[in-house]
Symmetry: C2
Subunit: 434 residues, 2 copies
């Protein structure tokens, strides 16, 4: 594999500034890797080869004039629910296939402003819900890459792009990241405007990013947010953590044992870790998430489901139909519970730097499903930042992952903690399909 | 009638400071007026005679030691959905009759802190909805005082108290103020915490106040909010106003003609007034209000309606039952519309100092109803400040009123505009039952 495909994000503009790298060479290498691996992985709906090469040339001219931007030349893939001007936002939903977006989504405009090169659109489950995309897991083609940001996770795992963007309404960033053995970071709710992103559930939708390392995630996050100081490399203090017993009990035995092993390694490196239970039943949090998500989906899709019922996959259709049965009173109670539980959980999370739990109950299942959302949806409901860190392999070679969660708004602190954790764990090799 | 009952609010602490008035004398006079008029008016559920006299003595001792508070000695009545420690909050609902409140509502605690003397609890329609209270209109005993803050409005009109507190979820402050010929002021949504107030619909409930004049309303409002400078007497610049044609078309002819006459007087005094239409159909605003209010009422009363169905009046019960039929999707659409329409209306309202319209479609109807909420509910939905100003009498001697509305948050500016308007209009005499 071309060595350029292994560069950390911040090395890309640095080498361009030092005239050791051209954007065109990097994009050429990236497109070759996609060409080589895409028949097996199927991460992309559409690749804008010409547009990417043209933009690479423009960025090279810009660099020659002395201007190098924070993400100068960084290739990026966008989940196909995110508008890129001139390309259709298909969202895995046939009625949307023929309409090119008029304008870039806010996140795409920001990425371009930072010098990133848009490669194209990555596969999503239908409208970011649960009907599987065609994408395969780069670790094992019979397994799901997870969903709904299936292509975005698989593309980073297959070294097709060092940075991709996805969305999470239940577990759609951190779960596919876990299944594909890459870093997935969902910052706090409303960290970035959702303009130009097809909604799934208004009050739960988050944007998130996929990278190969925590440092890359931090670099991209800080650039996107326009924080002035790029605090990478990240700090090294051993953190204080809670290991969440509730989720160990719900996890498959191999996953639970893995998390105990991860906690042991962290302890040996100086972390202070207590096993703790959440102050509230996980199933209450999941029920509240479920009522809110389904109600909002029901409202969003009301007219569309009447117009084109046959375009709907069975899982999306059923969720929308259930959502339309929810009475307003149930939604109001769920929203009030969400507020109350958020306050309760915030005071729980405030006792430590982060809590750790498995990102998912098991490794990637077969491709009939996109996996189990229970371990991720809790944090989406609360809007807290969550990061999935690859932390090992199962006995048959599938990625395992540790999820780190911090208080609402403490996104940067979570990245520091995650960087410390990442240094303790052995790094995964590239997957077989990369 | 005792001259003490005509003192403007700010004169009360001023005279106490100058040792020209004792709180005990004022409370004695007030209790005598209640005793004299209450058999006809029936504004009060409970009068805490002993408590009020004890508090008056305490405040007189405090004044003797040199401490005079901003509402020192001001008698106040609380709508019976507002907790006063030691008294039951009956809310016109039998199951609540026997439970004395453990603590004062936030607004009551604040009033006491400012030196006000709690006289007792005023009648409300059942749980602040639409099943009439026993209170009569002091201008005509066969007419409704309006609702839901029926007793609070009638008590101020009958000179039983210079200040009372009510709540508004549709039109429950400004409408009874209009019917009873007093000033009713509903500041912007969330101007004061609702702790200790029985909710009717969480996102629409407002506290509001009744007084005999705009200056009294401003004096009490500023004291309650702890604004540092008491800007009374109020400014005198002629305002720029829109007269809202939509509501003139919906009003009874006598009311529409009255508003045109009011506008003519304002113009002659220098105000610049244009006739304008709202940028959105009044009926859309009313439908959005209706869906949100009924949904929230349905959620709030779900368990109670199952437990004690027979305690419910027919109007409240039917509204709660309708609310339980609303699907979550309809509520979500209504909430999104509310946000969108609020932005639209805010930019409309930003073009002038205030808009004017009738407070109600007609004068007080008979006692089978509490009146028409359409002219008030629009502003409750938007959370904008609204003030009802007595502006005349019908040919058979019932009060007519002009409603002034300003942008969200511009409560104090609205008080200034209303004070200017009040000076142009002839003041009403006390009503026959006072």
């Amino acid at each position: 594999m071309n060595q350029l495909l292994h560069l950390p994000l911040r090395e890309i503009p640095a080498r361009i500034r030092q005239r050791q790298l051209s954007v065109s060479d990097l994009i050429q290498a990236t497109l070759q890797q996609i060409e080589r691996t895409e028949p097996d992985v199927q991460a992309w709906v559409e690749i804008d080869r010409d547009g990417a090469l043209r933009e690479a040339e423009r960025l090279d001219r810009l660099a020659a004039r002395g201007t190098v931007l924070p993400l100068h030349g960084v290739p990026v893939g966008l989940k196909d629910v995110i508008d890129v001007a001139g390309l259709p936002t298909r969202a895995g939903f046939a009625p949307l296939a023929d309409h090119p977006a008029q304008a870039d989504a806010a996140i795409v405009a920001r990425l371009r402003e930072l010098g990133a090169v848009v490669l194209g659109k990555t596969h999503t489950t239908q409208l970011a819900f649960a009907d599987p995309a065609p994408t395969r897991n780069p670790w094992a083609p019979d397994r799901t890459p997870g969903g709904s940001s299936s292509g975005s996770a698989a593309a980073v795992a297959a070294r097709q792009s060092p940075l991709t963007v996805g969305t999470q309404t239940a577990g759609s960033v951190v779960r596919p990241a876990a299944y594909c053995g890459v870093v997935g970071f969902k910052p706090s709710l409303d960290w970035f405007p959702l303009d130009g992103v097809i909604p799934l559930a208004w009050s739960l939708d988050h944007l998130g990013i996929f990278t190969r390392s925590v440092e890359d995630a931090a670099y991209a996050y800080v650039a996107l947010c326009a924080h002035q100081r790029l605090e990478v490399p990240l700090a090294t203090e051993p953190p204080r953590l809670f290991l969440l017993v509730d989720f160990l009990e719900l996890a498959e035995p191999e996953v639970a044992a893995h998390l105990q092993d991860v906690a042991r390694r962290f302890r040996e490196a100086g972390a202070r870790i207590e096993e703790r239970r959440l102050p509230v039943d996980v199933h209450l949090l999941l029920a509240v998430h479920h009522v809110i998500m389904l109600s909002e989906m029901g409202a969003l899709h009301q007219q569309m489901l009447e117009r084109v019922p046959d375009a709907y996959g069975p899982r999306l259709r059923s969720a929308v139909e259930v959502g339309q049965l929810v009475p307003a009173g149930a939604l109001l109670h769920a929203r009030r519970l969400r507020r109350r539980l958020s306050t309760l959980l915030d005071s729980f999370l405030s006792q430590v730097d982060a809590v750790i739990l498995p990102t998912a109950s098991g490794p990637a299942p077969d491709r009939s499903t996109t996996g189990d959302r229970r371990f991720q949806a809790v944090w989406t409901l609360l809007g807290t930042p969550a990061l999935s860190l690859p932390s090992g392999l199962t006995h048959d070679g599938l990625p395992l992952a540790t999820q780190l969660v911090a208080r609402f708004g403490h996104d940067r602190h979570l990245l520091h903690v995650a960087a410390w954790c990442e240094r303790i764990l052995p790094s995964l090799p590239p997957p077989p399909l990369a």
